[in-house]
């Protein structure tokens, strides 16, 4: 779990500790379907996926966003996360390994809050981007 991280200890340009997940297994997609309630067969039924023009099942985008959420809350306590937004840039297939990385792009004081903005990316073992996005966290001050 994340240790407390202070505003003064984070600098623009600093890297978020990367997190590598996977390889993504078909069983994990079944588990995620049950956990999320997203039972679109595109994620669990190869025959269905092929019938709609895919090579086979693809991961729920939200599972990969979940990896991003894990990477963030491994670094920054969950309670400090204020906003997380992502764009799904590519499909994730079973067997792929996903690495979440990020960089702090902004620090600012706003209405008594100490905010940082960080850009995040989730990419596969070949660098293929699955998610690009950003998050905002409010950090405590040492001051």
């Amino acid at each position: 779990m994340a240790q407390e991280l202070y505003y003064e200890d984070v600098q623009v340009g600093q890297a978020m500790p990367p997190l590598t997940k996977g390889p993504v297994a078909k069983l994990q997609l079944v588990m995620y379907a049950g956990a999320s309630g997203d039972f679109n067969p595109l994620h669990t039924d190869d025959d269905f996926a092929k019938a709609v023009g895919m090579p086979g099942v693809i991961a729920h985008g939200m599972l990969i966003m979940g990896f991003v959420g894990q990477a963030i809350t491994d670094w920054i306590p969950r309670k400090n996360l204020k906003k997380l937004g992502v764009r799904f840039a590519g499909m994730t297939y079973p067997g792929e390994t996903i690495t979440v990385s990020g960089t702090v792009t902004d620090k600012r004081k706003d209405n008594g809050s100490n905010l940082i903005t960080c850009e995040v990316t989730a990419a596969d073992q070949n660098g293929g981007v699955k998610i690009s996005g950003s998050f905002v966290a409010a950090l405590p001050s040492r001051g």
């Binding site: 956990a35 939200m62 979940g66 894990q70 809350t73 969950r78 309670k79």
Partner: protein, 149 residues
Amino acid sequence: MADMSKIGKEYPAVSWEVERGKIREMATAIGDANPIYKDKAAAIKEGYKDIPITPTYLTVPAMGGGNMLTLVGDLGINVAMVLHGEEEYEFLSDIYPGDVITGTCRVVNVEEKTTKKGSKMDLVTTEVLYTNQRGEAVAKARTVIVERK
């Protein structure tokens, strides 16, 4: 086919009870071993009142509460051709097990786009504001779904 006339439409509010087991199930499916999502004592030690929701938990009320299916049905979207384009969560206040959150889904945009390869797709943007049983705004979700044609 997505229906531009639905822009601005608001759907009836949907309520959802936040369950401890569902938070744990979500963390397990993601493979997130952070004990705050599974162990109340660990969460309290970290400064929470109970186990907090995972950052992407709000997909559960969106799917299970029926907002997403209502939307897809009302807009005449072919589920088999749907992809998720974007998702954004804004966390306004804490959400814990036992809370009953109510989400009101609104269509904020419907547009057709052509990809670089020349294929057409519809993009539908929705926003859901969640309030809790005390009427406090707790979160906002913004979703872009894509229908391939």
